[in-house]
Each structure stands twice: as structure tokens, then as C-alpha cells.
């Protein structure tokens, strides 16, 4: 019986394992190896690769533009993360506090996630941030707040902030849903008991909700880190044709090195692109380890 089971396990696992190795393990190993070579283009024959050791990494760290892209990534991750997590948690708590039309509000907040990023970015760029007839400009003009009405949202000084606002707007719903699923699992009896004991809503949050959703918070931080590291589409949409100091991220830099930049034929080095990929992977792993270290698993959490 045991032998038969082992055979069936092999039968059913083999295709999955082959696919896993072909789709995940092989590209990871190939990327790692590529990062030590100068590779003319992403599918170049191995015979055309030139071994450069850690030179790709050295070069990356010496290039101002790549350092700028890392700084942008850090800002997106930290400031965007704080904003998105705070608002998402607030919405999740409100939605689970017994308000009417709970499902409706949940759907509305989540809605930006089902709209294409291209459509969303176009809305923000051409309408909301438009400094001639845009939403912000006309709104602040109407309320008489001239300083805000005169902000050129898409100028080099404000472009990063505008990008962050637009991106975060679309991400709140996703993380709210994850928080919400954690809060929903907390037994209602706890809240009922604390209400009877006279605990206010803020007190319930700090003593019941927050301690019991630490695992969910950890998940959210890691998910946010992964999506931040992959920040690409929004950056491209906010700076078409040529990259931009304020919106460039490591993924965009990787793309420029791997596929070339804009309309000019520039030198490509897929090895440098691979090195960017390796650095980003290290970033996510570090965040994962630090998050696990800082947010300890408790015996009781949801």
C-alpha cells in the first residue's frame, strides 16, 4: 500500500515539479549566473556572454541614476506603505464596525483594483492633476485655497508625490481586504464582552483588534514590499518615451538595460538587468526577515 502511494505521488507530482523547475528554478539560476556576465541581450547565446564577476553590481552602485531609482523605491515603500497601511486599516476597522451598506462600501473601496492601471493613470494625469482644468485645481480654486490651486502637480518638483498619491489610491482597497479578512475572524464575543465592560471603540481597537491581526499586518507588509519592488507600470505611465528622475524605479532601470531606452538605440546589457533583479530579490528577503523578527508570532492571532 505504501509503495503504491509512493508511486502515485510520483505520478502526480512529476509534472508539477517539472513545471516548477522550468518556470521558477531555472530562470532564478539563469538570472543569478547572468548577473556575473555582460550579456548583449536577454536571449543572447551563452557563447557571447563575457564574465565580469561582480562588476555589474559595482557599476550599479556607482551609477547616480540607479541610486536615484533605489531612493525612489525606498520612498514608495516607506511613505506609500505608511499611508496605504494606515488608511487600509482604518477602512477595514470602519467596515467591520457594524455600519450599514458594509458590502457596498467594501466594493467601492476595492473597485480601483479592478480598473486597468493604464485607465487609472490616464484619469490622474489628464484629469485630476491637470493644472488647467483638473479636479484638484478647480476644487481648491472653489474653496479659495490659492496655494493648493497653484500647485503644478506634474512638474518635476511634485511628480513623485503625485505618482505616489495616484498609486496608493489604487492599492488601499487590496490591503483593506486583507486586513478586513483578519478582523472578520476575530470572534464577535470579544467585542461584545468589551462593550459590556464599557470599552470604547478606540480601546477595543488597541486592545483587541490590533494585537490579534499582527499576522495579517505582517502579510500586508510583505505583499506591499513585493508590489513596491515590482513598481513599473505606473512609472512608465507617468513618464512615457523617456525615463524620469522622479519616477524611475529599479524595475524601470532593469528594463532600460535589458531592452534599451526610448527611441535611441542604446547599449544593452541583460547581465546588468539581472543584477538589478538579484538586488531586488535581496531587498524582499531582507524585508521578510526583518518583518518576521520585529513582528513576532503570538499564540493567539487571526
Amino acid at each position: 500500500m505504501k509503495k503504491k502511494n509512493r508511486f502515485m505521488i510520483i505520478v502526480f507530482l512529476t509534472p508539477a515539479l517539472i513545471m516548477f523547475f522550468a518556470i521558477f528554478i531555472y530562470p532564478i539560476i539563469r538570472t543569478l549566473i547572468m548577473s556575473a556576465y555582460n550579456v548583449p541581450h536577454v536571449t543572447a547565446d551563452v557563447s557571447t556572454w563575457t564574465f565580469v564577476g561582480i562588476d555589474n553590481f559595482k557599476k550599479l552602485l556607482s551609477v547616480n541614476l540607479f541610486r536615484t531609482s533605489l531612493w525612489n523605491l525606498l520612498r514608495i515603500w516607506l511613505f506609500g506603505g505608511l499611508g496605504v497601511m494606515s488608511i487600509a486599516l482604518l477602512f477595514a476597522v470602519i467596515i467591520n464596525s457594524g455600519i450599514r451598506f458594509r458590502s457596498f462600501f467594501k466594493a467601492v473601496i476595492y473597485m480601483p483594483n479592478i480598473v486597468s492601471a493604464v485607465a487609472l493613470a490616464t484619469m490622474w494625469l489628464q484629469y485630476v492633476f491637470n493644472n488647467r482644468f483638473g479636479l484638484f485645481t478647480t476644487f481648491f480654486q472653489k474653496v479659495g485655497w490659492e496655494t493648493m490651486a497653484n500647485i503644478a502637480w506634474l512638474s518635476p518638483e511634485m511628480k513623485f508625490t503625485s505618482l505616489l498619491i495616484a498609486y496608493s489610491f489604487g492599492m488601499v482597497g487590496y490591503h483593506m481586504l486583507i486586513f478586513s479578512s483578519g478582523i472578520e475572524r476575530i470572534p464577535k464575543e470579544m467585542y461584545e464582552a468589551s462593550t459590556i465592560d464599557g470599552a470604547s471603540k478606540p480601546r477595543q481597537f488597541t486592545t483587541i483588534t490590533w494585537p490579534l491581526i499582527k499576522g495579517v499586518l505582517k502579510t500586508n507588509i510583505i505583499m506591499w514590499s513585493i508590489s513596491s519592488v515590482g513598481f513599473f507600470v505606473w512609472s512608465q505611465l507617468f513618464s512615457t518615451v523617456t525615463a524620469d528622475q522622479q519616477t524611475i524605479t529599479p524595475m524601470v532601470y532593469l528594463y532600460l538595460q535589458t531592452f534599451g531606452a526610448g527611441n535611441t538605440i542604446t547599449e544593452r546589457n541583460a547581465g546588468l538587468g539581472a543584477a538589478v533583479g538579484v538586488l531586488l530579490t535581496i531587498f524582499v528577503v531582507v524585508v521578510f526577515i526583518v518583518t518576521n523578527f520585529v513582528i513576532k508570532n503570538d499564540d493567539l492571532e487571526y
Partner: protein, 435 residues
């Protein structure tokens, strides 16, 4: 028995797995049966000898160029009975996907993209077209300048056939020029300043641009002083402070900004806000761009918009004048391994000659490449004059984007310079510090 069944099941799973991952391409030289292919050639001759030509196009199927190309291909299929598998990849799809596909052994007989990319980046995959061109007497009605540019980009041999050409120049609103009293388009920097002053006095912003084209604008401005090689030297070797022309050119733009000749909206113009907004709506006099601009903004500008074009003016002590410009084309190339090269070249002729060349020019407000089609769309009448006076070709942005690590910084600082947020010296210092 059960063990046997399990082994068979495992083998089947593996067979399906590898079949799904396998190469789905086919040899194009093989005759194909018409019933297996999507073809409109219902009454085509010699059905059993039909060949398949795979064509990867850089256009989208819904844009005007894509629609006309599909019509040309349909006409080819109806006339010959051959099958053309056109795959519209779009710009990004083509740039990202073509080379890996060719490296992976996919059969792609015909493809297109920008003249420099086709002849530079993809040079290893190109078939020499000299013999096919001669056999078809192609150049008898070809555009000499563009074919020369194509040869030049490939190191002297004709490896691709140009179509959908463009010239990068100042597009202007003729009504604004007339109202301001600018009677002829500027050819020198002084004439340019004079035109700007009159347009400003008439109540319009003389100049605007979008962020996407700021480095192209910069390339032109500097190339007039030092030529394309000089621009390449500055951006790739970081000679921002060492090359005096960088400061001189920046001083010109500091002056334009100080005099209020550049739209105050420029720093916020994320493409296509400037071209679709203030320029197409008739609020700004000039916008530097390719001759594809009328096609892109026609729906907003409307049929009454009177288009004019002039080349970037000559500057004092500059090495280049209005005889030099960035012009180019998209190019059709045949895979060197193609087994249907003659058929592919025939498709090129359908697209770039006669009826469909005219249709392509008219539908996309573009420039025809068949010299027999002398009429250019009315919107490009002045672009034709610019084009005919050219003797020197710049690459895109006169190579100002040649250093991928500097382009974003150049873009940002040039925007700030044009917006009056930076002096000429601060511009030079910022570029030098960033290089």
C-alpha cells in the same frame, strides 16, 4: 495492471506537457492547405502551392497604419493566393519580443520598426536586399534620401526598405503666425526670436512641448552648435562643463524663458497634455515634434487647423543649419533565414508602392515613399519643403539620449531651464554634477 496504467498515465502527462511547451512554428516554405488557414483569397489561383509568410508588424491593428497594412496584405493574398500571417505586435511588443522570438527559432519572415533599430539592434537577422531590390527595379520609384539613410544605417548595404517616413521639426499654427504678423518661417535664431516676440505680443505663448520630447528638443538645440557627433561626445563622455556650446545653448533657452516665450504650462506637460491641449487648441504657436503630429492631434485640432512646419533654425557660430534634421522612417526587413524572401519582398512592394502607399500617407497624414506619389497630405505641405532641403541626417534627438544613465537628468534639468527655474550656469553645473 494498475502499475501499467499508472505508467501509461505518467507517460501521457509528460507527452502532453512537452507537447504544450514545444515549438509550434512551422517551415514557411511548405505548401499549406488553404482550408487550414484564414484567408480571404476565395478565388485565388494555385491553391495547392500557396505559401505562408509570417509578418510581425510594429503597429496596432486598430491604428490607421495597421488598418492600411492589413488592406495591402489582403490585396496581396487575393492576388497571389499566398497566405500572410500578420501579427500586429505594437511598438513595445515588437521591441521586446522580436529578438527573443528570432533567437528562439520562430519563423518570422518579415518585420518592421524604426530604421536605426532594424539596422542596428537587429542587424544580425537581416537579409541583404540589394539583389531583390535590383531584380524588382525597386529604387526606380523609391525615395532616394530615405533609401540612402537605410543603407547608411546598415553600413552601406540595403538591408531594409523604408516607409512611413518622418521629419522632426517645429510644427506651427499658421493662423497664429498670420495674426502675429510673422510672414515667413524663421531660418536663423534672430528670426526665431523675432517670431517669438511677435507671437507673444499677439497674446499667445510662442512655444511649448511635452516631457516626452524634451531631450529631443535639447538634442536639436545643441546639435546646431556642435553637430550630432558633438552632442554624442557631450552626453556620453560627460563634457557638460568642458564643451562651451552647452552653456551657450543653455543661455539661449534661459533668454527664451526670461522673455516669457515658453508656455508656463510646460513643466506640467506630461505627454500628450501639451500637444493635445494648448497646441491643438490653438493657444500656443509652436511645438517641436515629428511629422506624425497632425495625425495624432487631428481629432482635437480639427480640419480648420492650418499646419505649418519649419526646421530648427541655424544659430550664431553653429556648425549645422536648416540643411540638417532628424529624419527617418520605419523599415521593413526580411529575415535572413526566410525561405519565402521573394514573396516577402512582394508584400513590401504592396505596402510601399502605388495605391497602398498613397492610402497609407492619406489615412495616417503621413509622407509617401513612392516617388511616383508626389502629393503629400496638405497638412505636411511645408514639411515637404523642409525634407527636400535636407542634406544631413541626425539620429533620434541628435543622439542626446545616447547615455541612458543621463537622459532622465537631462530631461528634468532642461524642463527646469525652459521653465525659468534654473539659470544657464545652474543647468551646466547640475549636468556636470550628475555625470
Amino acid at each position: 495492471m494498475k502499475k501499467l496504467l499508472s505508467v501509461i498515465a505518467l507517460m501521457l502527462v509528460c507527452v502532453f506537457l512537452f507537447a504544450a511547451c514545444g515549438d509550434s512554428t512551422q517551415t514557411t516554405s511548405d505548401p499549406v492547405k488553404t482550408e487550414d488557414k484564414k484567408t480571404e483569397a476565395t478565388d485565388a489561383p494555385a491553391v495547392e502551392e500557396a505559401k505562408t509568410i509570417v509578418y510581425w508588424s510594429m503597429w496596432e491593428p486598430t491604428e490607421k497604419q495597421g488598418i492600411v497594412i492589413q488592406k495591402a496584405v489582403d490585396a496581396y493574398m487575393a492576388d497571389t493566393g499566398n497566405v500572410v500571417d500578420v501579427q500586429f505586435k505594437g511598438r513595445t511588443g515588437q521591441r521586446e519580443g522580436l529578438q527573443p522570438a528570432l533567437d528562439g527559432g520562430m519563423v518570422i519572415d518579415l518585420f518592421d520598426e524604426d530604421v536605426d533599430r532594424v539596422n542596428g539592434t537587429w542587424s544580425a537577422y537581416l537579409m541583404d536586399l540589394e539583389a531583390l531590390s535590383a531584380a524588382n527595379d525597386y529604387e526606380a520609384t523609391g525615395n532616394d534620401a530615405l533609401i540612402a539613410a537605410s543603407r547608411d544605417a546598415a553600413g552601406g548595404t540595403l538591408m531594409s526598405i523604408p516607409y512611413q517616413p518622418f521629419v522632426f521639426a517645429f510644427a506651427y499654427n499658421k493662423d497664429i503666425f498670420t495674426e502675429a504678423g510673422v510672414t515667413s518661417s524663421p531660418k536663423t535664431w534672430d528670426e526665431f526670436l523675432d517670431a517669438c516676440a511677435k507671437i507673444k505680443a499677439a497674446g499667445y505663448a510662442p512655444l511649448t512641448c511635452d516631457d516626452a520630447y524634451m531631450t529631443a528638443w535639447y538634442g536639436y538645440a545643441l546639435a546646431r552648435f556642435v553637430g550630432q557627433d558633438g552632442v554624442t561626445d557631450v552626453v556620453t563622455n560627460g563634457k557638460w562643463a568642458e564643451e562651451p556650446a552647452v552653456l551657450k545653448m543653455a543661455q539661449q533657452y534661459e533668454e527664451l524663458a526670461t522673455l516669457g516665450y515658453i508656455s508656463e504650462n510646460l513643466p506640467s506637460n506630461v505627454w500628450p497634455m501639451g500637444q493635445n491641449g494648448e497646441f491643438a487648441l490653438g493657444e500656443v504657436g509652436m511645438y517641436i515634434n515629428g511629422t506624425w503630429l497632425p495625425n495624432e492631434v487631428n481629432a482635437i485640432a480639427g480640419p480648420d487647423f492650418k499646419w505649418g512646419f519649419f526646421n530648427y533654425p541655424a544659430v550664431p557660430d553653429g556648425v549645422d543649419g536648416v540643411e540638417a534634421a532628424n529624419f527617418g522612417a520605419q523599415c521593413l526587413a526580411i529575415n535572413k533565414d526566410s525561405l519565402v524572401s521573394e514573396e516577402a519582398f512582394e508584400i513590401i512592394k504592396y505596402i510601399t508602392k502605388g495605391e497602398f502607399d498613397t492610402m497609407l500617407a492619406n489615412e495616417s497624414m503621413g509622407i509617401p515613399v513612392d516617388s511616383a506619389n508626389a502629393e503629400w497630405p496638405v497638412q505636411l505641405a511645408e514639411a515637404k519643403v523642409v525634407f527636400e532641403n535636407l542634406t544631413k541626417r541626425y539620429s533620434w534627438a541628435a543622439n542626446a539620449e545616447a547615455n541612458v544613465d543621463m537622459t532622465p537628468l537631462l530631461k528634468e534639468n532642461f524642463i527646469k531651464l525652459c521653465a525659468g527655474q534654473m539659470t544657464a550656469q545652474e543647468f551646466v553645473d547640475a549636468m556636470e554634477a550628475g555625470s
